[in-house]
C-alpha cells in the first residue's frame, strides 16, 4: 500500500537535492563539507529547511528554567536553549545531514558542470557475458522452480481434463506441470578504466595545494566511478625519483628536494605496460604538480609523453596547482609542445574556488 508519507518524503528529498545542487559549487570548493564517505553514500550537512514565520528575535528574550546556578551564569548559547514556548531553533546554526548516493552526486555534478559522458574506447571488443533470468522451461533444478507458473499449469491441466471442481478447488501439480526459471546469456560491453594519479611531492608543494588536489581528486573519482563499472586507481608520487604508493601515503607524503617529472612518466608507463593491456582498459593519467621541473629533464618528459604515454592513454590531464614557490614553467612547456592535442587536458588552479573550473577542463572533453 502506498503510504501518504512516502510521497511527502520524496518531495522533501527532492527539495533537499535541489538545495545541494544549488550549492554544489560551495561543496566542491570546500571539501570539508562532505562528511564521511562510507561506501556508496556521502552525508552532506545543509542548513535546516524551515518555513519562515514571524517569530521573536533573541534580543531581550528569555524564559524560565530550573536547576542549580548563580545569577549571571551562562546556560547555553543561541535561542534554542529556552524553556517553555521558547523552543524556537535558529536556522543557519541548525544543520541537518542528508545522505546522498555517490552516483547521484556525480550526476548532479555532471549536470551542473555540463560534463559530457565519457565515450569509452574499445567498447566493441571487450565483452562480458551476463546471465539474466528471462525464460521459463520445463526442466531445471528445484531451487529454480517457478511456483506461480507451476500452479497455473496445474489449473490449466485440471480444467482441460475436467477434474477441476470450482466448489472444491484442490490443485495438486504433477511432475509435468512443473516450470523452472531459466536464463539467457547476454553479451554486455565491459567498461574498465584505470586512473593513475601522479603528484609532485617535492619541497615546493605545500599543504594547501595538497588539500586542493585531494578535493579535486575526490570529485574526479566520483565522476569516473559513475562512468565506468570497473575503476582502478593507482597512485604515483615523485620528486627526483618516482614510486608507487597507496592512497593515504599519496596525500600525506612530503619530500624535499628537486623534481624530475620524467621519473613519474616512466613509472606510469611501466604500470600500464605490466597490468593494463591497452585493448581492455581505458587509461587515464591525472597529474598534479606545481609546475616546477628540473630544466634538463624537460626534453625527456616531452619524448616520453609523445612516444609512450599519449598513444596509450585516453587522456592525460595535467593540473597545475598554483604555488608560492613554483615557477609554473612546465605548463608553458606542454602548451607549446602539444598545442591542440586532444589527448592532453591542461588546467591551472589558483585557489579552492578554481577547483570547479579545473574539473570542467579536465573532464569536459568526454574522452
Amino acid at each position: 500500500m502506498a503510504r501518504q508519507i512516502d510521497r511527502d518524503l520524496n518531495r522533501f528529498r527532492e527539495i533537499v537535492r535541489g538545495r545541494v545542487k544549488h550549492d554544489l559549487r560551495k561543496y566542491i570548493s570546500q571539501g570539508e563539507m562532505i562528511g564521511r564517505t562510507g561506501g556508496e553514500y556521502v552525508s552532506i550537512p545543509i542548513p535546516r529547511i524551515e518555513i519562515p514565520e514571524f517569530r521573536y528575535g533573541s534580543k531581550n528574550s528569555g524564559g524560565v528554567g530550573s536547576g542549580p546556578g548563580e545569577n549571571g551564569q551562562a546556560i547555553g548559547p543561541g535561542p534554542n536553549d529556552g524553556g517553555v514556548g521558547q523552543a524556537g531553533d535558529a536556522p543557519g546554526e541548525h544543520i541537518m545531514e542528508v545522505e546522498i548516493g555517490l552516483m547521484e552526486l556525480a550526476e548532479m555534478m555532471g549536470e551542473q558542470l555540463r560534463l559530457p559522458r565519457i565515450q569509452p574506447k574499445g567498447q566493441s571488443n571487450i565483452v562480458d557475458m551476463k546471465d539474466r533470468y528471462t525464460n521459463v522451461r520445463q526442466t531445471g533444478p528445484e531451487s529454480l522452480r517457478h511456483f506461480k507458473r507451476t500452479f497455473k499449469q496445474a489449473i490449466k491441466r485440471q480444467v482441460a481434463s475436467g477434474i477441476y471442481d470450482p466448489e472444491n478447488p484442490l490443485i495438486v501439480p504433477i511432475r509435468e506441470d512443473r516450470r523452472y526459471k531459466s536464463w539467457t546469456s547476454l553479451p554486455t560491453p565491459r567498461s574498465a578504466a584505470v586512473l593513475i594519479y601522479v603528484m609532485d611531492v617535492s619541497g615546493s608543494v605545500t599543504d594547501e595545494q595538497k588539500a586542493i588536489v585531494r578535493n579535486e581528486a575526490f570529485w574526479i573519482d566520483t565522476w569516473m566511478k559513475s562512468q565506468f563499472k570497473d575503476l582502478e586507481k593507482r597512485y604515483v608520487i615523485h620528486d627526483t625519483v618516482a614510486r608507487e604508493v597507496d592512497e593515504h601515503t599519496f596525500y600525506h607524503t612530503r619530500e624535499s628536494g628537486g623534481t624530475r617529472i620524467s621519473s613519474a612518466y616512466k613509472l606510469a608507463d611501466e604500470i600500464v605496460r605490466k597490468n593494463y593491456p591497452l585493448e581492455d582498459w581505458n587509461i587515464y593519467v591525472m597529474q598534479f604538480s606545481d609546475g616546477d621541473n628540473w630544466g634538463e629533464d624537460n626534453a625527456q618528459c616531452v619524448s616520453l609523453l609523445r612516444e609512450n604515454i599519449l598513444p596509450a592513454a585516453n587522456q592525460l590531464a595535467y593540473v597545475q596547482v598554483h604555488s608560492p614557490y613554483g615557477t609554473g614553467e612546465f605548463l608553458r612547456l606542454l602548451k607549446s609542445e602539444f598545442s591542440g592535442d586532444e589527448r592532453l587536458a591542461l588546467s591551472e588552479v589558483r585557489d579552492r574556488d578554481g577547483i570547479m573550473d579545473s574539473i570542467r577542463e579536465v573532464l569536459g572533453r568526454g574522452r
Binding site: L9, P52, V64
Partner: protein
C-alpha cells in the same frame, strides 16, 4: 498492510477494560477510546502527520518523518504515545513497548482524553477532525489535479508561513459584528429623513421638553461626525490576519479554499498549544495515580519508576511541561485538601504555622477537576504558581545577554520568574501581530503591526522571508512594524526589494536598501 493488524491484541484489550474502569471510578469523563498498535515506522508516519492518518500532501510532513525515523534509528528519541482530540478518541501504542509501558500510556491517554472533552478551551474544536482532515486532504488533492503540484505547493508554503497569525481568543470573544448579509448598513440606508438621531418618541405637546432642540442638534452633529470620520480599513486592527486575508486578499477560489483549510487546522491545534502544561500535567497525574494505586505489578515497579521519572525529568535547566503540570496540580490538591486558601490563609504570615496548616477540608480532588475545566496554561500559572513552588523546584528566569551571545540566569525572584513564564506562554510564545491598515499610503499596501510587549522584536531574516510570502498573497507591497532594540522599525517588501526603516528614531531616519538578508 491490512488495517486489522493494528487492532489491540487480546491482552491489551483486557488491560484497556481494566484501566478504563479505574479511570471512570475516579470520575474521569472521556470519549470512547480506540487504541491502535503500530510499528515504529507507522507511528513515525502518523506522528509526522500530526496524529492524523490522512492529510493534505506537503513536503513538511516528509521532513518531519525523516527526522523522526532517523532519530529513532540512531537511538536518539522515541515516541511513546500519541492521542488525538477526536470523538472517538484515537490513541496509538508502540508495538514493541513492554507491557508496563503500554499500561502507563493507556492510563495517560485517558487523562488526555478527559481533558480534551472537558476543558473549556477545547469546546470549540471539531470532534470529527479525523474525517475533516481527510476531507481537507481530498480537497487539496483535487486542487492539485486541477492546478498542478508546483503552484499548489508554493501557495501552501506561503500559507504555512502565516499559519501562526490567528486570533486564538476569537472562538470565545465576539470581536466585531458579523458582516451585513445584504451589503448595506441599515443606518446608512435610512438616512436622516426618516429618523433624526437622538429623538425619543413623544406626544406633540411634550416634544419640546422630551426632545429639546439643542440636544437634537448635538446628536445630529455627533452622528454626522461619526459618518464623516475618515474611514479606516480595517475599522479596528484585526488580529485574525488569516481571516482578513481570506475576506480581502485577491485570492483565486482554489487559493481561498486552501487558506481556509490551513486556518481551520490552525484553530483546531491552537488549544493544544494553549494548554500544554495543564494537559500533560493532568494526564501524568492520572497515569501516576492509576498505576501506583491499581495497575502496577510489583515486578514492574523499577521499570515504571524509571520511565515515569524519565518523562518528568528536567534536564539541562529546561522546564518540562509534564513536571511543572503534575507538580502544580499536586500542589493545588494538597493546598485545597489542607484548606490553604482563602483570606485566613492569606493573612497568616507565620512561616511555621503556614507549614503546619491543615484544616482537613479535603477539597483537593474537587478543586483540580474544576481547574482542569476552566483554566488554560496562562490562567493556571497566573493563579496557582506560588513563591514556595518556585523555590521548591529551583526555578529561575533567564535572559539573553547580547554581549556574550548566550542565555544567562537572570533571577530567582518570584515576580520575575512569573513574568517570564507568562510571557513565554502568551500567544504560545509567538509574537502578537495585527493588521493595522490595508490601504497604507492610500495605495492598497498592507501594514501589519507587531505589538512588542517586553521589548522583544522580531527576527529580521525570518520576518523578511515571511513578508515575501505575504506579498505573494496580498499582491501589493507589505509592511510590518516591529522594534529593533527599542527603536520602532518598519520592515517592508515591495515585491523586489526589502527595506528596513527606523520609525521616529531619536536622530534622523535612515533608509537602508538591501536585498534579502541571508539567514
Amino acid at each position: 498492510m491490512p488495517w486489522d493488524t493494528h487492532l489491540l491484541p487480546p491482552e491489551l484489550r483486557d488491560l484497556q477494560v481494566v484501566i478504563e474502569g479505574h479511570a471512570r471510578s475516579y470520575g474521569l469523563d472521556f470519549y470512547p477510546t480506540i487504541f491502535e498498535v503500530l510499528d515504529y515506522d507507522e507511528l513515525s508516519e502518523i506522528a509526522s502527520l500530526g496524529g492524523f492518518p490522512v492529510r493534505y500532501p506537503h513536503w513538511r510532513f516528509g521532513m518531519e518523518y525523516d527526522q523522526l525515523s532517523k532519530g529513532y534509528r540512531y537511538g536518539l528519541q522515541k515516541i511513546y504515545e500519541m492521542v488525538i482530540n477526536n470523538d472517538p478518541c484515537y490513541a496509538y501504542l508502540l508495538r514493541c513497548n513492554p507491557l508496563v509501558d503500554q499500561k502507563l500510556v493507556m492510563a495517560h491517554v485517558y487523562g488526555h482524553n478527559d481533558f480534551f472533552k472537558n476543558n473549556q478551551f477545547f469546546a470549540h474544536t471539531n470532534r470529527k477532525m479525523m474525517d475533516e482532515m481527510a476531507n481537507h486532504g481530498s480537497r487539496v488533492r483535487a486542487i492539485i489535479d486541477r492546478e498542478g503540484e508546483t503552484a499548489v505547493e508554493r501557495f501552501i508554503d506561503c500559507c504555512l508561513s502565516l499559519e501562526n497569525l490567528i486570533d486564538i481568543h476569537s472562538p470565545y470573544i465576539k470581536r466585531r459584528k458579523p458582516p451585513e448579509r445584504f451589503g448595506v448598513d441599515a443606518a446608512e440606508q435610512g438616512g436622516e429623513a426618516s429618523h433624526t438621531p437622538g429623538r425619543l418618541p413623544s406626544k406633540q405637546y411634550m416634544d419640546g421638553f422630551i426632545n429639546p432642540p439643542e440636544t437634537l442638534r448635538a446628536e445630529a452633529e455627533k452622528s454626522r461626525a461619526e459618518r464623516d470620520r475618515p474611514r479606516r480599513f480595517p475599522e479596528e486592527p484585526e488580529r485574525d490576519v488569516l481571516l482578513f486575508l481570506l475576506e480581502n486578499a485577491p485570492l483565486k477560489p482554489w487559493q481561498h479554499d486552501i487558506l481556509a483549510i490551513i486556518r481551520d487546522e490552525a484553530y483546531y491545534f491552537a488549544p493544544q498549544g494553549q494548554t500544554k502544561i495543564m494537559n500533560e500535567g493532568w494526564a501524568s497525574y492520572w497515569h501516576s495515580t492509576i498505576m501506583t494505586r491499581h495497575c502496577l505489578d510489583p515486578s514492574e515497579l523499577i521499570d515504571y519508576a524509571d520511565h515515569h521519572s524519565g518523562t518528568m525529568a528536567m534536564t539541562g535547566g529546561r522546564l518540562n511541561p509534564y513536571k511543572i503540570g503534575i507538580e502544580l496540580l499536586r500542589d493545588i490538591e494538597q493546598r485545597w485538601d489542607r484548606g490553604q486558601f482563602g483570606p485566613e490563609w492569606q493573612a497568616c504570615d507565620d512561616v511555621q504555622e503556614r507549614a503546619r496548616w491543615d484544616k482537613a477540608v479535603g477539597l483537593g480532588r474537587q478543586k483540580i477537576f474544576e481547574v482542569r475545566r476552566v483554566h488554560n496554561d496562562i490562567t493556571f500559572i497566573d493563579e496557582f504558581l506560588t513563591p514556595e513552588f518556585c523555590r521548591r523546584h529551583k526555578l529561575f528566569s533567564f535572559g539573553f545577554n547580547d554581549d556574550a551571545e548566550t542565555y544567562e540566569i537572570e533571577s530567582r525572584e518570584f515576580p520575575k520568574i512569573k513574568e517570564r513564564l507568562l510571557f513565554s506562554l502568551t500567544n504560545f510564545g509567538q509574537p502578537i501581530i495585527r493588521v493595522r491598515d490595508a490601504n497604507y499610503a492610500n495605495r492598497g499596501e498592507l501594514y501589519l503591526e507587531h505589538i512588542a510587549a517586553n521589548e522583544v522584536g522580531l527576527r529580521f531574516d525570518f520576518a523578511q522571508r515571511t513578508l515575501e510570502n505575504l506579498h505573494r498573497i496580498w499582491m501589493r507591497p507589505v509592511h510590518i512594524e516591529t522594534i529593533d532594540d527599542e527603536t520602532p522599525t518598519l520592515l517592508s517588501y515591495d515585491g523586489t526589494d526589502h527595506s528596513v526603516l527606523p520609525l521616529a528614531a531619536p536622530r534622523r531616519a535612515r533608509l537602508v536598501r538591501s536585498g534579502r538578508r541571508e539567514g
